[in-house]
């Protein structure tokens, strides 16, 4: 349905950079706006929220026009929810006061939607924090209240500007499961600004990669993280990210088996129940290639795969994109030396075996 889309067109030159985007995004699911700092991702999000303006532009959200040319809907009339990098709670109100601030205004004098409030409180697990003032909350708790505050409005679009970036690792781990629940339970579209590939892989369905104010690529997450022409695949820590489920544990060797689209992988036992969803990351430098199935090897995880593409990386290195799994289409990346590539006689379409030296569980 063409109206269930988010259409955003902005062309504007700022003193220090220019933004030039023409986006057609899905009207549901989580879309990550991904890029380095200065790529324009936050500016784009703020334009969509109406917190910043361009003299010309077009923005429509699931059929509703928010900006057309110079005519725009002010932020407070847009049915959106916005989560800032820092929680930005009102210091003079309790957590409950913060939650109700927006809800009162949505209700316009009628009764507040208590069900929506309770749902947001339950989803973010903040029921025990409601009477506290922001300064009595930890950084992670503040951000959970801020997310609930945006959700309780029952917005038609949720905008999140690096909601985890200001938090330390432990606080990130605290919030990520809640964001994953949002992803699974939310009906509305979410635009999520991030510069972290891990977050994007865990939370997003679609990725828009921005660089210097321009859209470099747009596509499904798994596909984009391994695409060779993008800087991400060339980075030193380039990786493939796999969406897996715990199959079982092997108590004798203390290993856990995980089913992924690329095949079944073993890793040192993890504290997850069978059937639970996990994300695995395989770094390109942890992959080596063999033409024949290695009979005797200390490597635990060996998957059959096919060479999808070869790309020179630097003088001595090559980047190989492999397809693994039943349909030989689940992407994996390998950094290998050109010497090895010539010795193996690698060509596109070739079938071989990927030996995976390390699989990391993404927390």
């Amino acid at each position: 349905m063409p109206s269930q889309r988010i259409i955003a067109r902005f062309h504007h030159t700022y003193p220090d950079f220019s933004l030039d985007v023409d986006l057609d995004l899905p009207g549901r699911g989580v879309t990550a706006l991904f890029g380095h700092s200065g790529s324009g991702k936050t500016t784009l999000l703020r334009l969509i929220a109406g917190l910043q303006h361009t003299p010309q532009g077009f923005l429509s959200v699931n059929g509703e026009i928010w900006q057309e040319g110079a005519r725009l809907l002010p932020t407070h009339r847009r049915p959106l929810g916005y989560v800032f990098q820092e929680a930005s709670l009102f210091a003079h109100l309790s957590a409950r006061g913060n939650l109700e601030y927006g809800m009162r205004r949505v209700a316009r004098g009628k009764a507040m939607d208590r069900a929506a409030l309770d749902q947001a409180i339950a989803l973010l697990g903040i029921g025990h924090l409601l009477e506290r003032r922001p300064h009595q909350l930890s950084g992670g708790e503040r951000q959970r209240v801020a997310i609930a505050r945006a959700l309780a409005l029952q917005p038609r679009l949720l905008l999140m500007d690096e909601p985890l970036a200001a938090l330390d690792l432990a606080r990130k781990q605290e919030i990520l499961p809640y964001l994953e629940r949002l992803h699974d339970e939310l009906e509305i579209p979410v635009l999520y600004v991030s510069h972290s590939p891990d977050e994007v892989a865990r939370l997003a369905d679609t990725v828009v990669m921005l660089e210097r104010g321009r859209v470099m690529a747009q596509g499904a997450v798994g596909e984009l993280l391994t695409r060779l022409d993008l800087r991400l695949a060339r980075a030193h820590d380039a990786s493939a990210i796999l969406d897996g489920r715990v199959r079982d544990h092997d108590p004798r060797y203390r290993l856990t088996r995980i089913d992924t689209p690329a095949g079944t992988l073993r890793l040192a036992q993890i504290e997850r129940a069978p059937g639970e969803r996990v994300w695995l990351r395989i770094q390109a430098r942890d992959l080596s290639l063999a033409l024949d199935e290695p009979g005797t090897s200390s490597i635990v995880n060996i998957l059959p795969a096919r060479v999808l593409a070869l790309e020179p990386l630097e003088e001595a290195q090559l980047l190989v994109k492999l397809g693994a799994g039943a349909d030989q289409a689940t992407p994996l990346l390998a950094h290998i030396t050109r010497y090895s590539a010539d010795r193996l006689g690698l060509v596109e379409g070739q079938e071989l075996f990927a030996q995976i030296k390390a699989v990391a569980l993404m927390e």
Partner: protein
């Protein structure tokens, strides 16, 4: 001894003047402070300097120019006369106008600082929570900048109570109309009546001390929160 009837009249007049000026200054000073805190205009510097002038000018200089402006040949004087209000010098309302100028920086600067410290973010957050511009000002800026408004009101009031030079230039010394406490003290000293002067002068010292004490304890409590 004690306060004479003339003293009580002067105290009442002073309190009336200071209260009225404080209210007017909060009404006029807040938009100026808001503009100064948020504008990126090139006029920010000149306007800020103009507002701050009374901090450094001798009150007589300010009073002199206000007297000229409000006099029969001044632009303000011609305006008030054409409106049928008569001339402002040597009236209570003349003092009010002069005091508004004289105490302006004491009101504008604390409010401006509080709004600047607040930053853009709480306003943006409120906008994403459906609050319109007035709503944002009343429900976010005012409560969050409350210490600034409180400081502004107290300083504006106290500074108006303490003025002397401008009053003398504009208002002269008319009982019940322009003879405020500071002028009354001056009169006692001129008449060598030091006893009566003590009563009023000591009252002003105590009043000023109490005002500042309240102000500093409020700020201290705010800092502890």
């Amino acid at each position: 001894m004690g306060f004479s009837d003339a003293d009580l009249q002067a105290i009442w007049l002073t309190l009336r003047l200071a209260s009225l000026v404080t209210v007017l200054l909060l009404l006029i000073g807040t938009p100026i402070a808001w503009w100064l805190a948020r504008t990126r205009s090139a006029w920010k510097g000149p306007v800020g300097a103009l507002v701050a002038l009374p901090l450094v000018l001798p009150p007589t200089v300010l009073g002199f120019y206000l007297l000229l402006a409000m006099g029969p040949n001044g632009p303000v004087g011609q305006l008030t006369e054409s409106l049928g209000l008569g001339l402002l010098p040597f009236t209570f309302w003349g003092l009010v106008v002069a005091s508004v100028f004289y105490s302006m920086p004491f009101v504008v600067q604390p409010i401006q600082n509080a709004i600047e410290a607040l930053g853009e973010r709480p306003l943006e957050a409120a906008a994403t929570l459906r609050a319109g511009p007035w709503d944002r000002f009343l429900t976010v800026v005012v409560p969050l900048a409350r210490p600034g408004f409180l400081t502004a009101a107290i300083l504006g009031f106290a500074h108006t109570v303490g003025e002397f030079g401008v009053v003398l230039m504009i208002g002269g010394n008319i009982p019940g109309e322009t003879r405020v406490v500071s002028v009354q003290i001056y009169d006692y000293v001129e008449a060598m009546d030091y006893g009566q002067a003590h009563w009023l002068a000591a009252s002003l010292v105590i009043f000023s001390f109490l005002v500042l004490l309240v102000l500093y304890s409020l700020n201290h409590r705010q800092a502890l929160r």
